[in-house]
């Protein structure tokens, strides 16, 4: 069973050149994969296709065995609720506290607040933000914002976790802790896809590696050799 499957996927903006070209990719359910490549190679664009912010220009994308090109809006949103996303710009909502930001994925599903309060608090403590849960995002450091964004991505126990440079703004100790969190989630069945430049991070994990260069995806040994 695949969590993500790309077949000959291409993406272009308007009539411009293809940013991604003939991308074939399979992420098995429960797999842990790193996506690497130089800046501008198309890592973030590939991730955007995975978390449904962009639509491919051609080719087939299946998420959880469903073709995204024929999904209704409701199905698309339901699929998004199965995906946790950590972006480089964090996208925390400024007028909501850290607690509210992290609880957001549960709140939009109509979950009873009493049912998730404890989970949110525990997760915030796990990522080292237990003391900042009522703080507003503007008052957090970059690293704290990143941890809040990660907590928001994992709070709903997603089937697929996508992270774009998740350890870019945190010190090594926190980075290792976050990696343990991802690893723990993966152990519980979440498929994890992380785009990173962090070679140390990649070496610490026994994980699949995908490498993207100039919009073309390399994988397996080729990718490993490139690292």
């Amino acid at each position: 069973m695949d969590a993500v499957r790309f077949e000959r996927v291409g993406l272009r903006y308007g009539r411009g050149p293809e940013i991604l070209s003939d991308v074939n990719m399979r992420l098995r359910r429960g797999s842990f994969t790193f996506l690497t490549g130089p800046s501008g190679a198309g890592k973030s664009t590939l991730l955007k296709l995975c978390y449904l912010t962009l639509k491919q220009s051609r080719g087939l994308i299946n998420l959880f065995e469903s073709d995204i090109s024929v999904m209704s809006r409701a199905e698309e949103q339901a699929t998004k609720r199965k995906i946790g996303v950590v972006l480089q710009d964090f996208r925390l909502i400024d007028h909501l506290s850290v607690f509210e930001n992290v609880a957001l994925p549960l709140r939009v599903t109509g979950e009873n607040r009493a049912n998730y309060t404890q989970d949110v608090v525990e997760l915030l403590q796990w990522v080292g933000l237990g003391h900042r849960m009522d703080a507003m995002p503007q008052t957090l450091s970059g690293g704290e914002q990143q941890r809040a964004a990660i907590a928001r991505a994992v709070i709903a126990k997603p089937d697929l976790l996508i992270a774009d440079e998740p350890t870019g703004n945190v010190d090594p100790a926190i980075g290792r802790r976050l990696l343990r969190l991802f690893s723990e989630m993966n152990r519980m069945g979440t498929t994890v896809l992380i785009a990173t430049h962090d070679v140390v991070l990649i070496r610490e994990m026994q994980a699949d590696i995908l490498r993207i260069e100039n919009g073309q995806l390399l994988s397996g040994l080729d990718a490993g050799a490139a690292i």
């Binding site: 949103q77 998004k80 609720r81 996208r91 607690f99 509210e100 957001l104 709140r107 939009v108």
Partner: protein, 300 residues
């Protein structure tokens, strides 16, 4: 831990109240609700006034007895009174004196001295204290059976004119009310459009975490409803105070304004006005939000 849980027990609103012109919108809605309240109270008052006037006119009539000669005048008058009194039990039936009859001619003849032997018709005034409206045809027929030639004026010409004027005023007030509601819908729609634009980042995050269009639209519906309710309550209270102030000034003092008499039942209509205002603001916001979210999706 308990403290932390308590601090987080109240959910924060997902839409920022500061990011759009909430205060300006509430002020605009307040002004519209104020005008709507005045229009509504004016319409209710005009209707009440019309019914009062028409009721008063319908319960009174003037019987004009044609007099052939001075000799038969008194006999005819007595016969007419004998016919009318039992026919209208409970009504005040009284003969107008000659002086009163002459004074009724003043608007037409001015202050001319009228000769004493001028054969003026005898006038009998009828005032019903309630109950059935006077039927001129029936009274004319009853008097005719006893050989009295009479003309019964039930003031229906005036009553119809007053009715038409009153209904016209009421229709104008209701049209004004409808226009204000229409403007309320437009204002709420524009405000939602602006709010959607101002809260684009929030919506982007909500869409990313899987919020349905309905969930997002409901946030705007709630926000617009609260603003509409706030504006409507303030506007209606101010409108009612203004109407009360105007009602204290009698029509005679103001010359142009009719008596704006308020009644406690008006408050029921005002409550409906507040609810209606809140409802249209919410609906306009909901429709706008759904439409724009769908358009965004198509664009994406």
């Amino acid at each position: 831990m308990t403290d932390m849980l308590q601090q987080s027990s109240q959910p924060q609103p997902l839409l920022s109240a500061q990011s759009d012109n909430a205060r300006s919108l509430v002020i605009v809605l307040t002004i519209m609700a104020f005008l709507a309240a005045l229009a509504l109270l004016f319409s209710l008052s005009a209707d009440r006034l019309r019914k009062d006037w028409q009721g008063e006119l319908g319960r009174s009539a003037t019987v004009q007895i044609m007099v052939d000669s001075v000799e038969t005048r008194e006999a005819n008058i007595q016969t007419a009174l004998k016919v009318l009194r039992p026919a209208l039990p409970g009504a005040e039936v009284k003969l107008l004196s000659e002086t009163q009859s002459k004074s009724l001619l003043k608007p037409w003849l001015g202050n001319l001295e009228l000769p004493d032997d001028l054969p003026l018709p005898a006038l009998i005034s009828i005032s019903q204290n309630g109950g059935a409206v006077i039927s001129p045809d029936r009274l004319t027929a009853l008097l005719g059976e006893d050989g009295i030639i009479a003309e019964v004026d039930d003031h229906s010409r005036w009553s119809d004119q007053i009715g038409r004027s009153g209904r016209g005023l009421q229709a104008a007030a209701l049209a004004l009310l409808a226009l204000i509601f229409g403007a309320g819908i437009a204002v709420s729609g524009f405000a939602t459009q602006a709010a959607l634009s101002a809260q684009r980042d929030v919506i982007r995050v909500l869409v990313q975490v899987g919020a349905e269009d309905g969930f997002i639209a409901r946030l705007f519906i709630k926000q617009a409803g609260i603003r509409g309710l706030k504006g409507a309550i303030i506007g209606v209270v101010l409108g009612t105070i203004t109407a009360l102030f105007l009602s204290l000034r009698r029509a005679e003092e103001t010359a142009l304004l009719p008596d704006l008499g308020l009644h406690w039942t008006d408050s029921i209509f005002l409550v409906f006005l507040i609810l209606g205002f809140t409802f249209i603001c919410s609906c306009a916001a909901g429709v706008t939000a759904y439409r724009l979210l769908r358009r965004e999706r198509r664009r994406a």
